[in-house]
Symmetry: C2
Subunit: 325 residues, 2 copies
Amino acid sequence: MGEFELLARVRERLPPPSPRVRVGPGDDAAVTIPGGATATSVDALVEGVHFRRERASLRQIGAKALAAGLSDLAAMGAEPGEAYVVLGVPTDLGEDECLELLDGTLALAASTGTTLAGGDLVRSASLTLAITVVGHASSPEDLVTRSGARPGDALVLTGELGGAAAGLIVLDRPEEAAAIPATVRDRLRARQLEPVPRLAAGRAIAAAGATAMIDVSDGLGGDAGHLARASGVGLLIDAQALPLCEGIAEVAALVGRDPVQLAASGGEDYELLASIPAAGLDLEKLVVDAGAPLTRIGEAVAGSGVEIRLPGGRMLKPDGYDQLR
Amino acid sequence: MGEFELLARVRERLPPPSPRVRVGPGDDAAVTIPGGATATSVDALVEGVHFRRERASLRQIGAKALAAGLSDLAAMGAEPGEAYVVLGVPTDLGEDECLELLDGTLALAASTGTTLAGGDLVRSASLTLAITVVGHASSPEDLVTRSGARPGDALVLTGELGGAAAGLIVLDRPEEAAAIPATVRDRLRARQLEPVPRLAAGRAIAAAGATAMIDVSDGLGGDAGHLARASGVGLLIDAQALPLCEGIAEVAALVGRDPVQLAASGGEDYELLASIPAAGLDLEKLVVDAGAPLTRIGEAVAGSGVEIRLPGGRMLKPDGYDQLR
């Protein structure tokens, strides 16, 4: 496979860059005109660790790698700008397949206003995607970190929980899952394979005065813990308030798990968890601005740690997610 | 290996960030205050493709991956800013070894004024480093692309050629190379294993009015071709003017190659090739400003392609470098 020829074919597929991008792929570096502040995140997906080619189409893999990065920008409240893609190509992936994968990346880039501004192609033992995303804001104060939550803040969560984890189980156990309605299964699989970053919601929640925000891609339990630690607060979450996705009870039953436990532990939901001053919080208005469902699931309190409270005062302990993967 | 624990150990090693970096590693994204224009480049190195652990120390591998990216910023004339490191960790690389590798990255970051502002750790079959570097400039006009060379421009090259390729041969054939003086061998190995990006030279050459610039990491022949194509000019290079590194004749003889051919084809020299208007070019002053040796090696002409002229009118044809690697 010729690197320069493949790069030329990639460049043919690129739409015109955004006005921010003065020099796109093909020079030593891309040249961009940033906003007053930039948010930058890198994420890597490795075959056999984060995805399997027999489960996901190449387009889905290419899109999901970008979605993971864009979700980090969403969690900052940043406007998506540029993406830079490192593709590690194993010998069993041909040129057309590389382009198919990149078409998935480009489709999500187009729908989110992201310009693919550069990249690198290398040989690799396993198919690997490392994507850098750069988002923009007028000033650093417009961006929301994990560290500003204060006791008394309300905790809000976009969308639904558990769909990606349930989708993985449906993919793993197609025969056992056959009793679940096909439309529900399709939706759960899509939550696993085709996540959509909450970019507009992230900007709306930031504009509404969020004090801290994080995406729950590592699971609500783990990521709430990150936010609590970074902010120096405790978080109380009402398990009954958690917005569980449709079908999770049936899927959790297939593997003998509790649905709330599965939803609170399973990662890859790419929803946003934010703290926001409770005084003056108008959730109905925020839902409209965010263009996404929003649920108030708890509050920040003085102290540390995360408690997910079940009825009767019991506590739910989410699974850890700390192994290198 | 616990991802979060290793990340905590990495963060302990990080020096204070530059004033540009408002939020460093540990949040969803890094927050920076960019210049009026940014230059961004991504590079990946994969074990078994770009390096071997039995040849290079982990510190050298960690530094070289960053050097490759910084060399791209040098070729734009950008001020180095931030680096983001994706580390793909195979199971036979322990936590202490990951830190050793990152210490190499951090040492070069410190000596070049680069802040390690974020990253990702993932499991991988082969040790993989994907590094994104971001450089800054006051405006896009201060950055030098590959595409501005005009007929009549002089071609200048920093440093020396062939050292990295010769160093690889010395590493490959230690017994045959034993006849070459040890100091020469050491220097050639260092050119291969410990490249130093020409950041100050790049900025000085840009400030002196360079019309186009590129690093010759893929070999002078190939990269001159990129510059020629991007600029729509031809390049005439005088083979006798090429600044060959000491010892290259002896090393080339070990493998039955012509030294000039080896120097013009071998990549990884991380020197800069620039076009600059010949009128008013004060090479002696530029050498002082650049803090690096500079050699005038040819000129841009109307036409296309690259000709490397040997005495007697013969042409040197550098090896291609197009295979995906």
